[in-house]
Symmetry: D2
């Protein structure tokens, strides 16, 4: 067990259920001397917060992070940073009806079998509410990256259902992604995506999509062979996020249909690589180019259309999931992806300090 810790040197441990008293966590291993940037923390939490727009869950949580330790006189001290996020708008009574029903696409059944019990309220620990602690921890990782590196991480929604951005992200002004509620850098497609999400919700259905994440400013050398290559640990981090079904670096699955002459990134006379098919890694180690990866999210499992579910007593029943769900989790997952990416890179930056004598 003990699966609630992630990272080796920059390490996060989280706890908390959707309808419990609080979500929280501990960041251990953040070096001393980092300015604590409360504005950054609040901004990241707001980006993930439910109720932020018309296309997300209306659950009303202010998601204020209470820092309990590890910060003194405005800076990190090298001691663990404990924090909590109160749950305020639990409506557990909404979930009484699901107490003895395993919802399709959810963790209800597997969790119940695994542990012999579960906190059924709002999905308990399997709820994506758990990710609020990741975003808080990721904000601290971003503070570390801001202080000690040139790394900038930018994730955005590149695909919702059948609406796709071009895979060449250089065609877009990525800063526009935070100017609309779906977090897509193409304003026209963003409106189409928003419309499709609203329409789908009205149809009692849900949508999947893809987040593309770009990290720039990496030094050469991040990633630890052979098992902890940068893409391997990133994949671990991303595939641990609720509803994620796929991960790819650079050309990813498309590379399976390419030839060596097309895929290999070659050097130009100025000593720089002329392309970035690999997505910023060579042999599993950062090569100084932009890190580029994509994460596939399935459509939200909770839909109000009727579906066949299993009861605890082994019968099948028809249920439509009422409650305050996102018709598409992808827009709110953007800060979660960035948070996990920041944590991975912070950890590798620290590990890399020990590569040479």
């Amino acid at each position: 067990m003990a699966g609630n810790t992630f990272g080796q040197l920059f390490r996060i441990t989280t706890f908390g259920e959707s309808h419990g008293a609080a979500i929280g966590g501990v960041v251990d291993g953040c070096p001393a001397g980092i300015e604590f940037d409360e504005v950054l923390l609040i901004r990241e939490m707001q980006r993930r917060r439910p109720g932020q727009s018309q296309i997300v869950s209306p659950r009303n949580e202010d998601d204020i992070v209470q820092i309990l330790s590890g910060i003194f006189e405005g800076k990190t001290t090298g001691t663990p940073i404990g924090f909590t996020i109160q749950n305020k708008d639990q409506k557990s009574v909404d979930y009484e009806k699901y107490k003895d029903v395993f919802r399709p696409g959810h963790a209800d059944h597997t969790w119940n079998e695994k542990f012999g019990t579960r906190d059924h309220r709002g999905g308990g620990r399997a709820s994506a509410r758990e990710t609020s602690a990741r975003v808080a921890a990721g904000a601290i990782a971003k503070m570390f990256l801001n202080k000690t590196s040139q790394i900038k991480i930018h994730a955005f929604v590149s695909d919702i259902h059948d609406i796709h951005l071009d895979r060449n992200y250089n065609l877009y002004d990525l800063s526009l992604s935070e100017t609309n509620v779906v977090r897509c850098p193409d304003p026209t497609l963003a409106q189409k995506m928003i419309g499709l999400i609203e329409e789908t919700r009205a149809q009692k259905n849900s949508l999947g999509g893809i987040i593309t994440c770009i990290a720039s400013g990496l030094s050469v050398g991040l990633g630890e062979p052979v098992f902890d290559k940068l893409p391997a640990v990133l994949a671990h981090a991303m595939m641990s996020i609720n509803a994620v079904k796929g991960f790819e670096m650079g050309e990813g699955f498309a590379s399976a249909a390419m030839k060596g002459t097309e895929m290999n990134d070659q050097w130009s006379d100025d000593g720089k690589l002329t392309s970035n098919h690999a997505g910023g890694v060579s042999g599993g180690i950062s090569n100084g180019q932009d890190l580029v990866f994509r994460i596939a999210f399935k459509p939200t499992s909770s839909i109000s259309s009727l579906q066949s579910a299993l009861t605890a007593s082994g019968e099948v029943t028809q249920i439509g999931i009422e409650g305050r769900h996102d018709p598409c989790v992808v827009p709110r997952a953007v800060p979660i992806v960035e948070a996990m990416c920041a944590i991975v890179l912070a950890d590798f930056l620290l590990l890399t300090k020990t590569n040479q004598a």
Copy 2:
């Protein structure tokens, strides 16, 4: 650092360079009392071995595994199983010319920057020769699975370049995959794939492809939330294999274009799920259905076509990589994928013993 260990309870540590004295490793945490199945070990090593067919590297290694500890009177004793695999057919002289050249698509440059040095001979530790130790460790994991579970793992080549199997693997007799050198269960497409690989090699080029892996017989409950979900750890394992660029579970990237009503697996009246879009996991935990995942491999970086490479002194030079390379790494990667899958499942089987009081 210390990235050469994988797993928590069933844990492997590997060592060795392509042209060093030996590859080897240690399996720690394998329970006592498992029959040591030497036939299985030899078979797995043969499946990965270079020189096994006309479409792979002709390097001549017999890849005999010497077990040094942990087995007594034909069974595991619960102590670490150390093993070595001698390197016999090193032709290091072939690599003298690459000593001061960083090859496109390879780890040469990043590794050199990271460590300030590298064993350039045959790619050193970045060579896929490293994976021979994974296959040996995976064979031990398979012995454990055979003894203590119903789990069977079957990986096969489902796609080479633009030749694709149907994604519904139930259409095929998977046992046929080991009857041809490309490891594809459709004999007709297998021949096409083989022809395409040979043709591509003749053109001094290389090909990518996709491996699909099916694991059946899992109990419900494997995977440790929230960071060590089954897909997360599988992705970590698979993305750590050389040349892998993508990983997906079940519908994977296709799920991003699906709706909730299409993606959710529902229960039928007999208490079983009627579909397996999720790929055998619910909420990141095994649900008892077949585990289904796909891994994308890029085309081999080593091609004999001329490419622009960087020299250690910062100049660009044209090189064609001669030597004994696979024109497509995918067929030989099949046993590696199975090995890593077996290690992940063995580890989770052990972890799961501690979930309930």
Copy 3:
């Protein structure tokens, strides 16, 4: 870094400074289905609490543990148990004078050098107030042991300064140790110890002592060779407690002056060992006898006698430490020793489930 986590499967992570907002922690890996015994938790916290008697620090903390997650309907759910303990009676102003002074025997100087900063208030994270989280986590470990084993842990004060109990603990009724404030099972010696502590405090000085810990009811087989032998991990746990300077199992240091014929425990005709010189372990693994170990505590570093201290600017100054200190930390350390012992044994009980196929 990341030194704030202990344990492999039953794993605790703690945070918090002496004068920060709260102390807290996360217990991850506690199996599901354990009854949550709040009475036990409160009792353990009361045993460690300052202000409990005339011979300990008068700091007034009620040390109520707020459980934030992981418990549902009175039982553990297998998810992480997050908790906090508010700091209420901080008198940070007392410590302003030590802001730029490194106190003798304290972590002030080393911590400041290590991290380039420190929270000087009350010793910050280096304060033994940190151990309140250990006791809370240990109480959960005890709940697990109570549910799943016959293990009982009993620590007591066997030595204060030059007042020593006989090393044969069978001579005493150990249950008496909790009937006096010094936690010594011999009522007469207990009164002497209390008198000596009070007298020493009046002399502006402090005392050291020894805690003996007995754990009974262990099954054979706890401990993981070769690095995680039971005595090794116990020593790690105990030596991590503030003010501990020594650890020994069974005869311990005395065994260095014994001969093989004296030290070896031999079997009698009923298949039981006739002595327990080893302290309950053979080859580093529990042998079913009582686990017996002793922990040496140095005298409290904070004394009100004048001592030479170093200032941040490199000068030497004379200081007497005022404030609310224990003249002898040993009585309050008894529940801390038990807590760490419970955590170690809980972890090994879980690990042991995976030793055989």
Copy 4:
């Protein structure tokens, strides 16, 4: 399980049984660029080797370490260093008689219960022959310390049975300890110790003793609070060595009988500490003074006097252990203590690189 790995960043994994094919291990995380000092490696192995003198086991092993990876052109490359040490002089037939007998003081019984089996030949993995891999790994750690720090480690025999050196090690010329076979820096007492050991062996008995270890040249700041304090991890390392029953830092158990005014190390006007009662640590972190710790070894369990042992069928039998045993393990344990100390310090040196931003 998985107890055969030690360390976080500088990490060793070992394998091998006393009478198996080989002992071996993997050092992972040693930074690149360290000169490989073969002379140092051979010297350390010789210090631990059986057959080196008249007071140790006559088993004839040359203990040559074969390095299989991780070294290229005379330097470490940052990749794992795999190595093996062949077992050559196994006389397994000597142990046939112990196949179904659990020897007093040995791991036979506990191991058998734990794993349901054991390699009984020569104690299998529980044999101190396992420590040859520790010494090899420790030699690599020493190479790292030599290259990157001023740290020097010196262990010596300070006590054999009732023959004791003064605890003030500054009274001795420590370099003399390697000039006699018992490794005691006082030549006169050394001869007494040797005489006592020989005499005791003739009496079919064995002796215990104490090793004192001094490490000088540490920077301030090694050790990671709160669980991985320097004394805690050192104790873990030392208590994992065969036959060790106690560990203490500085005044150790004697501090339990001291007062605060006696124990606290105070600063003199030149900014230096005037005493070292603490043994080189303050608050669990190195303070720049000599690290001083002592390790108690019990007398060898294997003695040729008759003792009561348990048979596998539950009966008691009288046995005298014949074979090639050390009458006192302490002299040969000196390099093992140094090796584990070097590994701990190497690990902390790497960890310390990440304490500050």
